[in-house]
Amino acid sequence: MSPVLEVRDLRVRFGSMAAVRGIDLAIERGQTHCLVGESGCGKSVSALAVMRLLPRGAKREAGAIRFAGEDIARLPERAMRRLRGDRMAMIFQEPMTSLNPAYTIGSQMTEVLRAHRGMGRAAAVERAEAMLTRVGVSAPGMRLGQYPHQLSGGLRQRVMIATALLCEPDLLVADEPTTALDVTVQVGILKLLADLKRDLGLAMLLITHDLGVVARIADVVSVMYAGEIVEHAPVGQLFAEPLHPYTRGLLRAIPVPGKVRRGEKLATIPGIVPRTEVGFRGCAFRDRCEFATQECAEPVAERVEGAHHWRCRLASGWLEAA
């Protein structure tokens, strides 16, 4: 089966700063692909590039973006607009970025259906209500008449998800959808996303910085660092045997109740993320890596072992050797 979304060698730059430095992604139907990394690693920019929503000043340089077999990298903006909100949809950390505070929930949701599906008013309202019910919003009829500011954070997030899914898209891009929410609400939203993915056969690209979320919801994980995917593997493999020193450092830096003894020092990654100019060579992690050698200043080839890809000079089994 061909993937719903396939990205090849995507590059984005802001002026002389290379924000995304050639990433590959492939997401199949019914798969949740998590793009994980720390702030500034280029994960959100990658998502926006896929949706062709890059801000002014950002320039996509190379790369193919194939959506359902069609290259959309050079699609005219009009056609792109027809695609967005219809067959590919995006949700954000802050629902108010996509909900308009001046319109009721109902008018925003029905507008989507009328624009993309040409539905009549009554049918659109009915569909919107059904969708709100599906995402677990109680009293959907009443919610349709309310304005976004009248809803709680969790409810707003559900409304945004419902709006994104109205046209039954094939691809859902979710950028930190639960970061602003309380932990108990987060679990509910993640469960909803997982259910919807399964029931609607969505391909989901989930951007997050939270490895806990990744572990519980992802099928496949790509770890980004300084604009590159440094490691890519099925979720179980990645957490059981991280092969890139950065991934390993990241996993060890999280306090896990019951795992790290209280009062014991947490592992840290020294230093800071480098600024990668266009034309940066070699491994971007080398300045912070305890295993770095002179070799790391040269371009690093990707290693592949089964479904596990990583971009490091170290072969698998290096941990035991070290």
Partner: protein, 314 residues
């Protein structure tokens, strides 16, 4: 061990008005909370947004006068002390270092500010500020930079240096790592642990992140809608939570363990609103095990405030 800081029946009530002609709302952010932190201990306060934990932090810092009860530091009522004396005893570290550092001042001036307020001479200020910067892992060159030129982790180090430059006894940390990346969070947590030991600090750590609190705190208080619903030694609360809310909160911690999937949280959808606190047990609309009594009768005061938990062995 004597109490470093204690809250005696502290409340914070606000009268909010939505717009000029809006309806008056009486918001009870903190409702009659009593807590004691012994000298040298670390208390973790955990709760979700709107539970009153940040208001409680402001009460402990004296930034807010309590509507009822009092906060005592070393036995003295905080509000009755003059601010210079308070500053020597208790200092804050806030969540977002981008907002807690004055963008128009250099790092050196920011760290030296408490000394300046205390009337320390210029040369001594400089010396102490620089030595504090090195204690938190920053180089002396950083002193001439502006906060905007630093990374998030470096800024939080600056905020910690400012808090410790007067060598206070108590540090109130309000979500000190929530705005930081994971790897930086670990650095800051390690730094806090190290400084706590060397300065013999009493720590109050407020967070929504249970894992962070678990790593740092000796004792834990769980807040819900303005009240502490469960408190106890960190180990026992994590190992054997009693209150249904604590259980739900613990269950919702997503540890990085694939294969566990997403936990089932049988919590109701009701949104906690401090302007409209439910009668009876304030948690009952969301509680999976509520009985009729919970809707009418507030549970007895204690370490665990729940009708279904009779007595907790301490």
């Amino acid at each position: 061990m004597s109490a470093a800081i204690e809250a005696n029946g502290v409340s914070a009530v606000f009268n909010q008005r939505a717009g000029t002609f809006g309806v008056r709302r009486r918001v009870v952010a903190v409702d009659d909370v009593s807590l004691t932190v012994p000298e040298g201990m670390a208390l973790g306060i955990v709760g979700e947004s709107g539970c009153g934990k940040s208001t409680f932090a402001r009460l402990l810092l004296g930034l807010l006068a309590p509507s009822g009860g009092d906060v005592r530091v070393g036995g003295q009522v905080l509000q009755a002390m003059d601010r210079q004396a308070r500053a020597r005893l208790i200092q804050p570290v806030f969540q977002d270092p981008a907002s807690s550092l004055n963008p128009r001042r250099r790092v050196g001036e920011i760290v030296a500010l408490p000394l300046r307020a205390a009337g320390v001479a210029r040369s001594e200020r400089r010396e102490r500020a620089l030595s504090m910067l090195s204690r938190v892992g920053l180089t002396p060159e950083m002193a001439t930079r502006y906060p905007g030129q630093l990374s998030g982790g470096q800024r939080q180090r600056v905020a910690i240096a400012r808090a410790l430059v007067l060598e206070p006894r108590i540090l109130i940390c309000d979500e000190p790592t929530s705005a930081l990346d994971v790897s930086v969070q670990a650095q800051i947590l390690n730094l806090l642990a190290e400084l706590r030991a060397s300065f013999n600090l009493t720590l109050v750590m407020i967070s929504h992140n249970l894992a962070v609190v678990e790593h740092v705190a000796d004792e834990i208080a769980i807040m819900y809608l303005g009240r502490v619903v469960e408190r106890g030694a960190a180990e026992s609360v994590f190992a054997a939570p009693h209150h249904p809310y604590t259980k739900a909160l613990l269950a919702s911690v997503l540890t990085p363990e694939p294969g566990l999937g997403l936990p089932d949280l049988p919590l109701g959808e009701a949104v906690p609103d401090p302007a409209n606190i439910p009668a009876g047990c304030r948690f009952h609309p969301r509680c999976p095990v509520a009985i009729p009594r919970c809707a009418t009768e507030a549970p007895a005061r204690g370490d665990v405030e729940c009708h279904l938990v009779q007595s907790v062995p301490t």
